[in-house]
Amino acid sequence: MYVAGIDIGSSTTKILVLNQRDTVAARITETMPDTSEKAESILAEAISGCSLVPKDISYVVATGYGRVNVPFANRTVTEIACHAKGVHFAFPGARTVLDMGGQDCKAIRVDDNGNHQSFIMNDKCAAGTGRFFEVIARTIGIPLSEFGPLSLEAKAPLRISSVCTVFARSEVVRALRKGVPKADIAAGVCEATVDRVVTLLKRVGIEPELVISGGIGRNTGVVQRIEARLGMPARVPPEPQLMGALGAALFAREAVASKCTK
């Protein structure tokens, strides 16, 4: 029996396939305007490596902002529920989840069973989302993956006064022309983001363990600064971007199990 979770985010689409016990395939691709319609062929590609075809998948749960248009999904589940479930599976002790994706950021409180109790979300403003990092990385000419490590080399983090990504970008351009080192700029951007997410976390209420998921989990500059600011460790799954797809696949597996027992 195979099930799949497909998480269509604003920047990337994540697919994760489970059997009764393990993850058998996982894939992260860029989200395109037609990703939802093409989700089946993306799934086919993701599972071709393990000699599976889409009709071998008994149940598909779609999540993420593009979840509504996936023609072959059996069910859709909100990304909040999927992230809570995925993170709880990876870290059963998780009680607070910070998930930052390409165009949103959410702080989620999770109970002992992996159900979300409450959450706060920002998906209206690019500040405090992955997009902020993408815009600034492009402006200072570094790959996104170097953002965190570079920020940790900073001597004097640039103070960024604008919240708005557009205006912050103007500040960064001016700083670059003045010769401010890229590391100091990267550090300033991380600091500004930490200000935003810590506010979000405090509003939802922080209880250990704290787990950071989504693309931001790969940014060591942000993760270390959040830990320092809160004075508590944060756990990061090995594949932080896959937590939503994992949760979706777990929902799919539960759906199949309950069908079998009926």
Partner: protein, 268 residues
């Protein structure tokens, strides 16, 4: 007495020379990181054209984003104050002056004597500013000054649901993918900005003639969209982008809070 007003905006720096009755000349250039140099260059340009010698303009007021960096300005004044004074000078019947700049937008309600009664401002978020339209033009791959005419040519408009100028990129790309025309998307972009601008107008409570100034006022579709939302046709003076600099030059003439007598409008 001659006075000068310099408006150092985040996008362009404008300088005008005023003699207490009329605006003698003006010049705009792209702002530099160094606001002092940009201000000096803009003023120098106006004075050269007018044949004025160095030091012949005794009173200079700076306004705008970079106003505190202008070393040779005798005074500084807020954008809201200068935009309203300039708007009122250009259109003496102005009741509310709305200034749409590159990175800020403000609505100023005036008392019958021209004093500021109430003001609302957005300088924190690119929504409702010229930056939103500028970015949309980049996403649509059309020059900035084409957005207005394209929007005016549209039948209806595409829905741009993002408030955030950064998120508007994916909104616009998915609209293009859906087969929406550039015209209808441009109209949606303009409508989005107009919605944010009218929120500021409604916050102060518009009254009397609504006057649009700033670079955003050069976009004819924006004025039309604001008219559709508020139900009042805005008055757009000639060269509205100089209004705030004119207001600064007026401030430079008057040390006390009293307003100058209206001398009728003059184009820059």
């Amino acid at each position: 007495m001659l006075s000068a007003g310099i408006d150092i905006g985040s996008h362009s720096t404008k300088a005008v020379v005023f003699d207490g009755r009329s605006v003698l000349g003006g010049h705009a250039l792209v702002s530099d990181d160094d606001a002092d140099t940009a201000a000096r260059n803009a003023l120098h340009q106006v004075m050269t054209v007018l044949g004025l010698k160095e030091g012949s303009v005794p009173s200079i007021t700076a306004t705008g984003w970079g106003r505190r960096q202008v070393s040779f300005a005798g005074k500084v004044s807020s954008e809201a104050m200068c935009a309203s004074r300039g708007g009122r000078w250009l259109v003496p019947t102005a009741g509310t002056v709305v200034d749409i700049g590159a990175e800020g937008c403000r609505a100023v309600k005036l008392r019958p004597d021209g004093a500021v009664e109430d003001a609302a401002e957005n300088s924190k978020c690119a929504a409702g500013t010229g930056a939103f339209i500028e970015l949309a033009a980049v996403y649509l791959k059309v020059p900035l000054d084409r957005i207005g005419p394209l929007a005016l040519a549209a039948k209806g408009r595409a829905e741009i649901s993002s408030i955030c100028a950064v998120f508007a990129e994916s909104a616009i790309i998915s609209q293009i993918h859906r087969g929406e025309s550039v015209e209808r998307i441009a109209a949606g972009v303009v409508w989005s900005v107009a919605t944010r601008v009218t929120e500021l107008i409604q916050r102060v409570g518009a009254k009397g003639n609504l006057v649009l100034v700033g670079g955003g006022a050069l976009n004819p579709a924006l004025a039309k969209a604001i008219e559709e939302i508020v139900g009042v046709r805005p008055v757009v003076p000639d060269q509205p982008q100089f209004a705030t600099a004119i207001g600064a030059a007026i401030q430079a003439q008057h040390t006390e809070a009293s307003l100058p007598r209206q001398q009728g409008r003059r184009s820059v």
